[in-house]
Symmetry: C2
Subunit: 162 residues, 2 copies
Protein backbone atom coordinates (compact mmCIF):
# COMPACT_ATOMS: atom_id res chain seq x y z
CA UNK A 1 0.00 0.00 0.00
CA UNK A 2 1.30 3.48 -0.80
CA UNK A 3 1.42 6.24 1.81
CA UNK A 4 -1.65 7.93 0.39
CA UNK A 5 -3.65 4.71 0.16
CA UNK A 6 -2.74 3.87 3.75
CA UNK A 7 -4.07 7.24 4.86
CA UNK A 8 -7.41 6.87 3.08
CA UNK A 9 -7.60 3.27 4.30
CA UNK A 10 -7.36 4.48 7.93
CA UNK A 11 -10.16 6.96 7.35
CA UNK A 12 -12.36 4.33 5.70
CA UNK A 13 -11.75 1.97 8.64
CA UNK A 14 -12.80 4.74 10.99
CA UNK A 15 -15.98 5.35 8.99
CA UNK A 16 -16.83 1.64 8.87
CA UNK A 17 -16.19 1.13 12.56
CA UNK A 18 -18.55 3.97 13.43
CA UNK A 19 -21.20 2.76 10.98
CA UNK A 20 -20.99 -0.77 12.33
CA UNK A 21 -21.21 0.08 16.02
CA UNK A 22 -24.05 2.52 15.39
CA UNK A 23 -26.02 0.07 13.25
CA UNK A 24 -25.46 -2.72 15.76
CA UNK A 25 -26.68 -0.56 18.63
CA UNK A 26 -29.87 0.69 16.98
CA UNK A 27 -30.55 -2.57 15.16
CA UNK A 28 -30.73 -4.43 18.48
CA UNK A 29 -33.46 -2.18 19.91
CA UNK A 30 -37.15 -3.10 19.86
CA UNK A 31 -39.74 -0.81 18.26
CA UNK A 32 -40.73 0.22 21.78
CA UNK A 33 -37.18 0.99 22.86
CA UNK A 34 -36.64 3.10 19.74
CA UNK A 35 -39.47 5.37 20.87
CA UNK A 36 -37.68 6.24 24.10
CA UNK A 37 -35.95 9.59 24.54
CA UNK A 38 -32.17 9.73 24.86
CA UNK A 39 -32.70 11.99 27.90
CA UNK A 40 -35.84 13.60 29.35
CA UNK A 41 -37.33 16.04 26.83
CA UNK A 42 -34.74 15.21 24.16
CA UNK A 43 -34.98 13.42 20.80
CA UNK A 44 -36.11 9.82 20.67
CA UNK A 45 -33.69 7.10 19.62
CA UNK A 46 -35.58 6.48 16.37
CA UNK A 47 -35.11 10.14 15.45
CA UNK A 48 -31.35 9.97 15.98
CA UNK A 49 -31.10 6.84 13.87
CA UNK A 50 -33.20 8.34 11.11
CA UNK A 51 -31.22 11.57 11.27
CA UNK A 52 -27.94 9.74 10.78
CA UNK A 53 -29.43 7.70 7.94
CA UNK A 54 -30.67 10.84 6.17
CA UNK A 55 -27.37 12.70 6.55
CA UNK A 56 -25.44 9.67 5.29
CA UNK A 57 -27.83 9.24 2.35
CA UNK A 58 -27.15 12.87 1.43
CA UNK A 59 -23.46 12.03 1.10
CA UNK A 60 -24.17 10.36 -2.24
CA UNK A 61 -24.87 13.63 -4.11
CA UNK A 62 -22.61 15.73 -1.85
CA UNK A 63 -19.62 13.58 -2.80
CA UNK A 64 -20.74 13.30 -6.43
CA UNK A 65 -21.32 9.56 -6.10
CA UNK A 66 -24.92 9.37 -7.26
CA UNK A 67 -28.44 10.42 -6.46
CA UNK A 68 -30.02 10.10 -3.06
CA UNK A 69 -31.74 6.80 -2.37
CA UNK A 70 -34.11 8.17 0.29
CA UNK A 71 -34.70 11.92 0.07
CA UNK A 72 -38.01 11.37 1.91
CA UNK A 73 -36.02 10.93 5.12
CA UNK A 74 -35.26 14.65 5.35
CA UNK A 75 -38.81 15.70 6.22
CA UNK A 76 -38.94 13.05 8.93
CA UNK A 77 -35.50 13.38 10.48
CA UNK A 78 -33.73 16.57 9.41
CA UNK A 79 -35.91 19.53 8.42
CA UNK A 80 -38.58 18.86 11.07
CA UNK A 81 -37.98 18.26 14.76
CA UNK A 82 -38.81 14.94 16.39
CA UNK A 83 -42.53 14.22 16.87
CA UNK A 84 -43.70 16.71 14.21
CA UNK A 85 -44.67 14.05 11.68
CA UNK A 86 -47.32 11.54 12.61
CA UNK A 87 -45.86 8.47 11.03
CA UNK A 88 -42.12 8.22 10.54
CA UNK A 89 -40.59 4.89 9.60
CA UNK A 90 -40.69 1.89 11.91
CA UNK A 91 -37.44 0.50 13.26
CA UNK A 92 -37.72 -2.43 10.88
CA UNK A 93 -38.14 -0.16 7.86
CA UNK A 94 -35.37 2.13 9.02
CA UNK A 95 -32.96 -0.76 9.47
CA UNK A 96 -33.51 -1.73 5.83
CA UNK A 97 -32.91 1.85 4.64
CA UNK A 98 -29.86 2.23 6.91
CA UNK A 99 -28.29 -0.93 5.48
CA UNK A 100 -29.15 -0.04 1.90
CA UNK A 101 -27.71 3.46 2.19
CA UNK A 102 -24.52 2.35 3.91
CA UNK A 103 -23.96 -0.48 1.44
CA UNK A 104 -24.24 1.98 -1.45
CA UNK A 105 -21.85 4.40 0.25
CA UNK A 106 -19.34 1.69 1.06
CA UNK A 107 -19.33 0.44 -2.54
CA UNK A 108 -18.75 3.96 -3.84
CA UNK A 109 -16.16 4.84 -1.16
CA UNK A 110 -14.13 1.73 -1.93
CA UNK A 111 -13.70 2.78 -5.54
CA UNK A 112 -12.24 6.24 -4.87
CA UNK A 113 -8.49 6.79 -5.16
CA UNK A 114 -6.63 9.13 -2.81
CA UNK A 115 -6.57 11.77 -5.56
CA UNK A 116 -10.33 11.45 -6.00
CA UNK A 117 -10.87 11.81 -2.25
CA UNK A 118 -9.10 15.17 -2.49
CA UNK A 119 -11.39 16.46 -5.24
CA UNK A 120 -13.96 19.08 -4.35
CA UNK A 121 -17.36 18.12 -3.02
CA UNK A 122 -20.43 19.33 -4.88
CA UNK A 123 -21.47 22.06 -2.40
CA UNK A 124 -18.40 24.19 -3.10
CA UNK A 125 -17.82 26.19 -6.29
CA UNK A 126 -14.72 25.75 -8.46
CA UNK A 127 -13.68 29.28 -7.51
CA UNK A 128 -13.99 28.81 -3.77
CA UNK A 129 -12.26 25.47 -4.02
CA UNK A 130 -9.18 27.13 -5.49
CA UNK A 131 -8.92 29.28 -2.36
CA UNK A 132 -9.98 26.54 0.06
CA UNK A 133 -8.73 23.22 -1.33
CA UNK A 134 -9.47 21.47 1.96
CA UNK A 135 -13.16 21.57 1.07
CA UNK A 136 -12.79 18.17 -0.50
CA UNK A 137 -14.45 14.76 -0.23
CA UNK A 138 -11.96 13.55 2.34
CA UNK A 139 -12.74 16.36 4.78
CA UNK A 140 -16.44 15.56 4.41
CA UNK A 141 -15.80 11.88 5.13
CA UNK A 142 -13.94 12.76 8.33
CA UNK A 143 -16.59 15.27 9.35
CA UNK A 144 -19.41 12.80 8.84
CA UNK A 145 -17.52 10.18 10.83
CA UNK A 146 -17.38 12.66 13.73
CA UNK A 147 -21.10 13.38 13.19
CA UNK A 148 -21.85 9.67 13.59
CA UNK A 149 -19.82 9.51 16.81
CA UNK A 150 -21.48 12.69 18.15
CA UNK A 151 -24.97 11.22 17.97
CA UNK A 152 -23.89 7.69 18.87
CA UNK A 153 -22.54 9.11 22.13
CA UNK A 154 -25.96 10.59 22.79
CA UNK A 155 -27.78 7.39 21.92
CA UNK A 156 -25.59 5.40 24.28
CA UNK A 157 -26.82 7.51 27.19
CA UNK A 158 -30.21 5.83 26.84
CA UNK A 159 -28.66 2.38 26.99
CA UNK A 160 -29.29 1.50 30.61
CA UNK A 161 -32.80 2.83 30.51
CA UNK A 162 -33.94 0.85 27.44
CA UNK B 1 0.68 20.42 -1.08
CA UNK B 2 1.21 16.79 -2.05
CA UNK B 3 -1.62 14.26 -1.98
CA UNK B 4 -0.39 12.72 1.24
CA UNK B 5 0.10 16.07 2.98
CA UNK B 6 -3.40 17.13 1.93
CA UNK B 7 -4.82 13.99 3.50
CA UNK B 8 -3.07 14.50 6.85
CA UNK B 9 -3.98 18.19 6.70
CA UNK B 10 -7.68 17.28 6.48
CA UNK B 11 -7.36 15.01 9.49
CA UNK B 12 -5.53 17.68 11.51
CA UNK B 13 -8.22 20.20 10.63
CA UNK B 14 -10.84 17.75 11.87
CA UNK B 15 -8.95 17.25 15.12
CA UNK B 16 -8.51 21.00 15.65
CA UNK B 17 -12.13 21.76 14.90
CA UNK B 18 -13.30 19.22 17.47
CA UNK B 19 -10.79 20.45 20.07
CA UNK B 20 -11.82 24.06 19.53
CA UNK B 21 -15.58 23.53 19.73
CA UNK B 22 -15.19 21.30 22.79
CA UNK B 23 -12.87 23.73 24.58
CA UNK B 24 -15.13 26.67 23.74
CA UNK B 25 -18.19 24.86 25.07
CA UNK B 26 -16.71 23.75 28.39
CA UNK B 27 -14.63 26.90 28.83
CA UNK B 28 -17.77 29.04 28.79
CA UNK B 29 -19.45 27.18 31.66
CA UNK B 30 -19.37 28.40 35.26
CA UNK B 31 -18.01 26.22 38.08
CA UNK B 32 -21.61 25.59 39.09
CA UNK B 33 -22.71 24.60 35.59
CA UNK B 34 -19.77 22.19 35.30
CA UNK B 35 -21.12 20.28 38.29
CA UNK B 36 -24.40 19.53 36.49
CA UNK B 37 -25.09 16.10 35.06
CA UNK B 38 -25.37 15.67 31.27
CA UNK B 39 -28.60 13.72 31.94
CA UNK B 40 -30.22 12.53 35.17
CA UNK B 41 -27.95 10.02 36.93
CA UNK B 42 -25.18 10.38 34.32
CA UNK B 43 -21.68 11.89 34.50
CA UNK B 44 -21.26 15.54 35.31
CA UNK B 45 -19.95 17.97 32.69
CA UNK B 46 -16.67 18.45 34.59
CA UNK B 47 -16.08 14.70 34.44
CA UNK B 48 -16.53 14.58 30.68
CA UNK B 49 -14.17 17.50 30.20
CA UNK B 50 -11.57 15.97 32.50
CA UNK B 51 -11.97 12.60 30.79
CA UNK B 52 -11.29 14.09 27.37
CA UNK B 53 -8.30 16.01 28.74
CA UNK B 54 -6.83 12.85 30.29
CA UNK B 55 -7.30 10.75 27.16
CA UNK B 56 -5.76 13.48 25.01
CA UNK B 57 -2.83 13.87 27.40
CA UNK B 58 -2.22 10.13 27.08
CA UNK B 59 -1.77 10.62 23.32
CA UNK B 60 1.70 12.05 23.96
CA UNK B 61 3.27 8.71 24.98
CA UNK B 62 0.87 6.62 22.86
CA UNK B 63 2.03 8.42 19.72
CA UNK B 64 5.65 8.49 20.89
CA UNK B 65 5.65 12.26 21.14
CA UNK B 66 6.76 12.67 24.73
CA UNK B 67 5.83 12.00 28.33
CA UNK B 68 2.44 12.75 29.80
CA UNK B 69 2.02 16.24 31.20
CA UNK B 70 -0.78 15.30 33.62
CA UNK B 71 -0.89 11.61 34.54
CA UNK B 72 -2.73 12.59 37.75
CA UNK B 73 -5.87 13.14 35.65
CA UNK B 74 -6.40 9.38 35.21
CA UNK B 75 -7.41 8.73 38.82
CA UNK B 76 -9.89 11.60 38.65
CA UNK B 77 -11.41 11.11 35.23
CA UNK B 78 -10.58 7.69 33.76
CA UNK B 79 -9.88 4.86 36.21
CA UNK B 80 -12.50 5.98 38.75
CA UNK B 81 -16.12 6.85 38.00
CA UNK B 82 -17.48 10.34 38.52
CA UNK B 83 -17.93 11.43 42.17
CA UNK B 84 -15.51 8.81 43.59
CA UNK B 85 -12.79 11.33 44.38
CA UNK B 86 -13.53 14.14 46.79
CA UNK B 87 -11.64 16.93 45.10
CA UNK B 88 -11.12 16.81 41.36
CA UNK B 89 -9.87 19.92 39.57
CA UNK B 90 -11.92 23.09 39.38
CA UNK B 91 -13.10 24.30 36.00
CA UNK B 92 -10.49 27.04 36.08
CA UNK B 93 -7.68 24.56 36.75
CA UNK B 94 -8.99 22.13 34.18
CA UNK B 95 -9.14 24.83 31.52
CA UNK B 96 -5.46 25.53 32.06
CA UNK B 97 -4.57 21.84 31.80
CA UNK B 98 -6.79 21.38 28.73
CA UNK B 99 -5.09 24.27 26.92
CA UNK B 100 -1.61 23.17 27.94
CA UNK B 101 -2.19 19.57 26.80
CA UNK B 102 -3.74 20.56 23.50
CA UNK B 103 -1.04 23.11 22.75
CA UNK B 104 1.62 20.44 23.29
CA UNK B 105 -0.25 17.97 21.07
CA UNK B 106 -0.77 20.51 18.33
CA UNK B 107 2.92 21.43 18.29
CA UNK B 108 3.92 17.78 18.04
CA UNK B 109 1.22 16.92 15.48
CA UNK B 110 2.29 19.77 13.20
CA UNK B 111 5.80 18.38 12.93
CA UNK B 112 4.86 14.87 11.76
CA UNK B 113 5.15 13.98 8.08
CA UNK B 114 2.63 11.68 6.38
CA UNK B 115 5.13 8.84 6.59
CA UNK B 116 5.55 9.45 10.32
CA UNK B 117 1.78 9.45 10.82
CA UNK B 118 1.76 5.94 9.36
CA UNK B 119 4.34 4.63 11.79
CA UNK B 120 3.21 2.34 14.56
CA UNK B 121 1.91 3.69 17.84
CA UNK B 122 3.62 2.60 21.07
CA UNK B 123 0.90 0.19 22.27
CA UNK B 124 1.45 -2.25 19.39
CA UNK B 125 4.47 -4.54 19.06
CA UNK B 126 6.72 -4.57 15.99
CA UNK B 127 5.48 -8.08 15.22
CA UNK B 128 1.78 -7.28 15.42
CA UNK B 129 2.35 -4.12 13.42
CA UNK B 130 3.71 -6.17 10.52
CA UNK B 131 0.42 -8.06 10.37
CA UNK B 132 -1.77 -5.06 11.13
CA UNK B 133 -0.09 -1.99 9.64
CA UNK B 134 -3.23 0.09 10.15
CA UNK B 135 -2.40 0.24 13.87
CA UNK B 136 -0.54 3.46 13.24
CA UNK B 137 -0.53 7.00 14.60
CA UNK B 138 -2.96 8.22 11.97
CA UNK B 139 -5.65 5.69 12.93
CA UNK B 140 -5.25 6.76 16.56
CA UNK B 141 -5.66 10.43 15.59
CA UNK B 142 -8.90 9.67 13.74
CA UNK B 143 -10.17 7.49 16.56
CA UNK B 144 -9.48 10.14 19.18
CA UNK B 145 -11.21 12.75 17.04
CA UNK B 146 -14.32 10.54 17.04
CA UNK B 147 -13.90 10.09 20.81
CA UNK B 148 -13.99 13.86 21.25
CA UNK B 149 -17.15 14.12 19.14
CA UNK B 150 -18.78 11.22 21.02
CA UNK B 151 -18.53 12.96 24.39
CA UNK B 152 -19.11 16.44 22.98
CA UNK B 153 -22.47 15.21 21.69
CA UNK B 154 -23.30 14.07 25.21
CA UNK B 155 -22.19 17.33 26.78
CA UNK B 156 -24.35 19.33 24.37
CA UNK B 157 -27.43 17.57 25.73
CA UNK B 158 -26.98 19.52 28.96
CA UNK B 159 -26.84 22.84 27.13
CA UNK B 160 -30.37 24.05 27.60
CA UNK B 161 -30.42 23.02 31.21
CA UNK B 162 -27.24 24.82 32.26
Amino acid sequence: MTTETSLTDSALRGWKLNIDRTGKFFGALSEEQLLQEIAPGKNRLIYLWGHLTAINDALLPLLGLGQRLHPELDAMFVSNPDRSLKKPLSGEELKRVWDETNDALWMAFSRLSATEWLQKHTAVSEEDFKQEPYRNRFTILLGRTAHLAYHFGQAKLAEHRT
